[in-house]
Symmetry: C2
DNA sequence: ACCTGAACACCGTTCAAGT
DNA sequence: ACCTGAACACCGTTCAAGT
């Protein structure tokens, strides 16, 4: 059986999931695949490209429904997609870092993020602003994931020091705040997001 | 003249500013200080601790005014402080990464962030939420800084590929969105943030 | 086409020994 | 107290040479 790019990516994701980014080195990856380091570079240009691929795999299980016409349900789907993204990243250590590398190295390559932008537009964000709005939401997701993993990492070292609980509750609260700011507070002062 | 911790930190900040985080190694730092690597470890526990100190220095020039009683002006000062933070980080490559390391390693050590939280409370955010609100704003700042440095890094490699301009304009827009979500849209549907 | 073996130029951290 | 010299256990990447 010869080595495949698929195996390389999958094993890389495995190491990341089990041990974190610090342990995901090309040499360790080669060891796990019972191969010399050089062999990896036939299947992969370099480590960065591999990380981009791994970031893509993190989002593989995500459902992709169609964009609705109704702004209210589009807003709901934004919240749903954001939660799904968070749920996909949360269990994998350092996933936010990996994600950021991918996003910066090849912006637009992560499909769910393009979809998030479409949903935001359908919910009432002006097309000239939707790119900014997308960033706003993604930053909140990544920040939340990083903070959560953070506290769980500290808890592993010192179980007594209970820091501020930045979990799912804080995430949905923040998401609502951002969406309120983007689309107007829901049913509080009459949503004027659906213009003329 | 013998080596000081101050020199170590200052030179580290210099390397970061001029060449970025990738070039900020303990060995390079030692070279720049005309010293053996081991010498650094007498003044500094390890590299992480040094990065926390460097992050602190990034924020050294920031003005610290008193927290106002009036919610409206407190809101203005939140915006002001956020802009000042962004301005302080923007010119230093990879400052967002360094900042995040510091924030995760020693939360609460960066004074301006505590101040940001106080200002948010003065502006009308409930004390139970002010920690979350602080994170929301800081994530926006760091995300904006990272994205900006990002595009300028790409522009250095390929000056033709003009990506979405995520500059200061996007930052202030996003900040307003977040503050609208937190405190209610300003003078649009009557700010109800100053309850009983 | 695909992989090995070996090298190149690096890392962070530690520590006996010197002054 | 403060630093050197040298080691330990790693990195990512390249590339002739093998099959």
């Amino acid at each position: 059986m010869t080595l495949t790019r698929d195996q390389v990516e999958e094993t890389a994701l495995g190491i990341l999931t089990r041990f974190g980014l610090a342990d995901l080195s090309m040499r360790r990856l080669a060891r796990e695949l019972h191969v010399q380091v050089g062999a990896l570079y036939w299947h992969v240009k370099n480590k960065q490209e591999l990380l981009v691929a791994v970031a893509g795999r993190l989002l593989d299980g995500l459902e992709v429904a169609t964009v609705p016409a109704d702004p209210e349900s589009a807003r709901d789907m934004v919240a749903e997609l954001a939660s799904a993204l968070r749920a996909a990243l949360a269990p994998v250590p350092d996933s936010a870092e990996v994600f950021q590398v991918a996003q910066s190295l090849r912006p637009g390559a992560l499909e769910p993020l393009n979809r998030l932008r479409s949903l935001l537009e359908a919910a009432g964000v002006a097309p000239e602003r939707s790119g900014w709005a997308q960033h706003l939401v993604v930053n909140h997701i990544l920040g939340s994931v990083a903070a959560t993993q953070e506290t769980s990492r500290l808890a592993a070292v010192d179980p007594d020091a209970a820091p501020s609980p930045l979990g799912e509750e804080a995430f949905t609260w923040g998401l609502d705040v951002v969406l309120d700011g983007l689309l107007g507070a829901r049913a509080v002062c009459g949503h004027s997001a659906d213009g003329p």
